[in-house]
């Protein structure tokens, strides 16, 4: 009777160890706490393991929407100094039955960021061997940023070209007007008198002293 009772007490952990060690439905987990946190790294001990098992139970609860998962359903073995171990998940209804790998994988993937945050780690430093990290969605822009900058530069260049060309045109026009102003005066004189008076400066012509009245300036 005593033997039977003893067997009953020690059987579950032994069976549990067997479940964990030999199973195909287990995942290896690796933590790189010192790499992630450097000087702020915490020590890996039983309490941290407790936290890990509880987060995994939480993940299973969320994924299966069953509140029956408990910390006793998460079995851990092959604990190493690396801080790596193997875990399996038993069904809450039947302690001898293991939850298949795919389901655990789904649960972990969906809640990875919560699990990461519980340990202040990232996808690189908290590895589930066999579960690749989900890649962040690519950023989709409405307009590519390079087109915006291109538009700004082309706009500035266009403004520059127009401004410079306008200034050339206006300069030329002013020069033409100046030259046209002088030549118009010449042309007018020629048209009126039929002689080339362009040598004469000004509209009034040259004061010809032969026909002048000497008394023009002296009026006494």
């Amino acid at each position: 009777m005593l033997a039977g009772v003893l067997l009953l007490i020690f059987l579950p952990p032994l069976v549990a160890k067997d479940l964990c060690k030999d199973s195909q439905d287990g995942f290896k987990v690796r933590l790189s706490i010192k790499t992630a946190l450097g000087d702020d790294a915490y020590e890996w001990n039983e309490s941290e393991m407790f936290l890990f098992r509880s987060t995994l139970a939480y993940a299973m609860r969320k994924q299966t929407k069953q509140d029956t998962y408990n910390i006793t359903n998460i079995l851990v073995c092959n604990d190493t100094q690396r801080v790596s171990f193997v875990f399996v998940v038993t069904s809450p209804d039947d302690p001898d039955q293991l939850i298949p790998k795919e389901q655990i994988e789904q649960a972990v993937r969906q809640n990875k960021h919560r699990i990461n945050n519980a340990f202040l780690l990232s996808d690189m430093t908290l590895e589930f061997v066999g579960i690749p990290p989900t890649l962040a969605a690519p950023i989709i822009y409405d307009t590519e940023p390079w087109l915006i900058v291109f538009g700004v530069v082309i706009g500035a260049v266009a403004v520059g070209i127009v401004a410079l060309l306008m200034s050339t045109v206006s300069k030329k026009r002013r020069a033409k007007e100046k030259a046209a102003g002088l030549s118009e005066e010449d042309e007018g004189i020629v048209k009126e008198n039929g002689t080339a008076l362009s040598g004469l400066g000004g509209k009034e012509g040259v004061y010809n002293q032969t026909f002048s009245n000497d008394n023009r300036f002296t009026e006494l």
Partner: protein, 629 residues
Amino acid sequence: MKLKLKLPNPGLDERIPSHAELEKLELEEAGERPQWDNKAQYMLTCVGFCVGLGNVWRFPYLCQSHGGGAFMIPFLILLVLEGIPLLHLEFAIGQRLRKGSIGVWRSINPYLVGVGIASMLVSFLVGMYYNTIIAWVMWYFFNSFQDPLPWSQCPINENRTGFVSECERSSPVDYFWYRKTLNTTPVIEDSGGLQWWIVLCLFCAWTLLWVCCLRGIETTGKAVYVTSTLPYLVLTIFLIRGLTLKGSVSGIKFLFTPDLDELLNPTTWLDAGAQVFYSFSLAFGGLISFSSYNSVHNNCEQDAVIISVINGLTSIYAAIVIYSIIGFRATERFDDCLSGNILTLLNTFDLPEGNITESNYEGFLQHLNSTAPQTLQELQLKTCDMQTFLSQGVEGTGLAFIVFTEAITKMPFSPLWSVLFFIMLFCLGLSTMFGSVEGVVVPLQDLNILPKHWPKEAYTGLVCFVSFGLAIIFAQGSGEYWLALFDGFAGSIPLLIIAFCEMMAVSYIYGIDRFNDDIKFMIGHKPNFFWQATWRLVSPLIVLLIFLFYFITTISKELTYIAWDPQSNFPALETKSYPDWIYAIIFILSGVPALVIPAVALFRLIRKSCSAREEKHTGAEFICTFLLS
């Protein structure tokens, strides 16, 4: 007895303005020739023309690969013996004859017009591909205004299961350069179609160039205040940033570690000579043009020395900056490689973290090698060698668009550094393009083939438009291979020939005595023995040697190009040989500018003898009627 060789050159005095005429020109400030607003504009334009992308991405590589600090010796010697004399010669002849390249050679002797035409053709071809590099720089500049930078991580493939395979096998920076920017085809024959984004960037580059060159030096003179000074500011910023990064000093040490044995290697001297020659942008005709806008008594000797010194110092300064950043990148890569290996070891042997560090890594490996060599082999640890990382892809476009961009992604505030870096490259390239455009537009005006009443804006617009149209070939999928072809053949051999002809023409056809008198008239004292020896003997000899070396190596070996082929031996670049029809293109690029020199002389000779014959009514008239029609 006069030992100086001088070829007969009748009618020279009628073609060139005399000293008295020059004085009059100077006093009256008459003539339609444009002028510099002030000396600073002229100096900045020349410095901008000389200092270009080659100072940043060719010189540092040459320096490091040819014995580091020891490379300074051939570089500085050849700078003094080859660079400064040629520069002084171009400045002096432009200032004296007050014309662009075709005008100058026509004045010296009408048979030499071919030299000017060759300069114009080379300026045109080089300008075409050089501005395409600027277009690529602009593409990267446009893409720098986002965080994270697009070349910092691989894009995710369609299934969202992983990264794009081409990117995963190579690296995000390689992928962004070869796929997202160039969209390269595996071989040059495969055109790959036009890449619209590159066409847009090309359009932007050419219109921007046109806006700056619109009225010739009137507009470029203002633009160079920014384009010539900004690179120095950015280089200084990068120097300060670089020196504060980990591993930068190892890069600088790698650059300058002298290996005096390299001085015995003739390739070192030839590469130094070629670098000095191309770095000074000689024989393009642009420098002659720029100095023709100077006042007659400008001290061109002083200018030549100052600009040469600035150019040399800029090369060295840029090399320091570049290698500090390369040192940083190499250290980062080395650290990543080592951490990766250490992690693999920790994971395999389930050791606690911190057991293997960088210091005891080697010791641990040795221990492992002796105890469990099989396991070590199976692990396939990567070899982490600092020297390999330091010597990766460090010249040309590879430096700017792959190595440097990767280094930038590892710095904090990467978009800022990226913007600064590409603005610097843009300014360096643009200021060189000013000289290139000048070297095409002014000869075109001198040739009188287009209507004379066309304003300067139309000339520059036409040149920019035609160049843009032809540069579309570089916007194809195979564009980068075409650019490498142009870079290798359009600029190299013809320039050497032109420079040699220039020196021969000035020393022996124009006459070194007359040239000495001109310089005495312009700056007040006769050029001393150093100038005489270099103009007449030393510099032409050096240029001839470099030309022969290049010519023989090009002819003798099979010509190959480096291709990006995802299908084969990825991610290393493949060396492929050119198809046969490329050889025709190479001949056109190198041969036509060079052959134009004798061809034009011959044409003129035949025309002259034809017009003489017409008076005598002798035979062979059909050639003459053909040539004269």
